[in-house]
Point group: C2
Chain length 283, copies 2
């Protein structure tokens, strides 16, 4: 595995791969690699001759008071994991290489960024869309792989790629979970043992909601209330939001009907740790 | 010359050229080609094996009440002019191909878009940055050629290309002028004969300002007032702005000093027609 830190060198490597007729598959990450990321990298091997993984903790997607400073960083641990999963090029740029002085350009996806995570984390998706646009211009991928775990991020980036006409194919990979259902996340390491024991309630609430809908419940409000009830039964859990929304517009649904894509999602705090999870389906 | 209307077909043509090791030089235009555009295309021949010119009247850079509807459109006239100048591929997408339903993503360059043209035309540079980002993702150029005529546009797009890390080299071509100094512009056709006769005052004011500065005048306010005086001597001219600004930050200067890049620029209305011009230099 080749480790590249300079964006221009990455562009030259991408040009070289493309000149040889190779397909580039790209997995952007913030490091602290877990089985979710590694699954994305393993999947990427099937989509590309050259698999590129980036590790960059992107400051513009963190709000004030969020965990940018304490976000886990451990390249010595991450690099061999990425290599073992099939990564050919690990792109690890510095903060100053990605945001040199005078950086003033941002990519905004309007509308769908203002709800759910965007409401709780103003500016978050502006930072996400901007960094992914930049990374696509540096890595020049044919295929971009994202995890379904960040459901709204998938919806926002799908829109961004389409609207800005990036010649990049998006592949979405299902969420990877611990045995008890907890979605893999770099933030899970923040949880105390007591919080960790209660955290699977996110996944349990999503499964319960989907089961009730598949069992005939069409009232979205009833489903939200049932999820809230299940989550608040855990004393350490504090709900940020519970959503039953249209899967593309991300607008809250009143009623679930056949043929309408649904995204059920939620954000729950355990102490200072904020966890998210989601499921998508169409009846 | 090949005419392409479909963005995906343009991407395939760009991939094909790149696969053959060809360099793509790109001139984005809104059509109504004049000698300024044709000079850009002729210059592009020196920078690329494949010269691509786009013609697209971009709605998102026009404000309400601006001239989007009446902006001159004449492909039958433009196409042979582009071909004669050396264009290999003329990319002429439809409105719906560039802005399909649900388009929600915009590229914002902050700060330098809020002064001068940006102040008079809110949203203009958001539209410009967005369409050029889209066109770069479609045409995949190695070199982008822009005219100095739109001086702030050059500054904004230079920042955008750098900030979003487009692997594109920017080449800026000097403004092409009529014999009497009037900068070539597609909007010159709107001028009545009387307005046309007075319009060279823009260029004359810029030349006078630069001469006074090179002659020792360092007070930017004095230079602005001298320009205002010269322009208001023309009865049909109505000043929108007169600026003596830093050439990169575009902030108004108090004093002109050696080593500081200067952009002198102005916007003047003749009836319903708004003309702009500028000159840049460093003492």
């Amino acid at each position: 595995m080749n480790v590249i830190t300079d964006p221009s060198a990455m562009q030259r490597a991408a040009d070289g791969a493309r000149a040889e007729g190779k397909t580039i598959a790209f997995v952007p990450t913030m490091g602290a690699l877990h089985d979710g990321h590694l699954t994305l990298i393993r999947e990427a091997v099937g989509y590309g001759d050259t698999v590129v993984t980036s590790i960059f903790v992107n400051p513009t997607q963190f709000g004030q008071g969020e965990d940018f400073d304490r976000y886990p960083r451990d390249l010595d641990r991450d690099a061999p994991l990425a290599a073992d999963a099939g990564c050919d090029i690990l792109f690890v740029p510095s903060q100053s290489a990605m945001y040199p002085g005078g950086h003033a350009t941002f990519v905004n996806v309007e509308g769908i960024t203002e709800v759910l995570e965007g409401k709780s984390r103003p500016g978050h998706f502006r930072g996400v869309a901007t960094i992914v646009a930049k990374l696509c211009n540096i890595v020049k991928p044919h295929v971009l792989l994202l995890g379904q775990k960040d459901g709204q991020q998938v919806a926002v980036l799908r829109r961004m790629l389409r609207d800005l006409q990036f010649d990049v194919r998006l592949v979405v990979v299902p969420t990877v979970r611990e045995d008890d259902g907890l979605a893999m996340s770099s933030r899970n390491v923040y949880l105390t043992p007591e919080e960790r024991a209660q955290a699977p309630v996110l996944c349990a609430a999503l499964r319960m909601a989907e089961e009730r809908i598949r069992g005939g419940e069409s009232n979205a409000g009833v489903v939200r209330e049932a999820m809230r009830g299940m989550i608040t039964s855990k004393p350490l859990a504090s709900i940020d939001y519970v959503s039953v929304a249209h899967g593309e517009s991300l607008e809250e649904l009143v009623r679930i009907a056949p043929g309408i894509p649904v995204m059920i999602s939620l954000a729950v705090r355990f102490g200072t740790t904020r966890l998210i999870d989601n499921t998508t389906f169409t009846l």
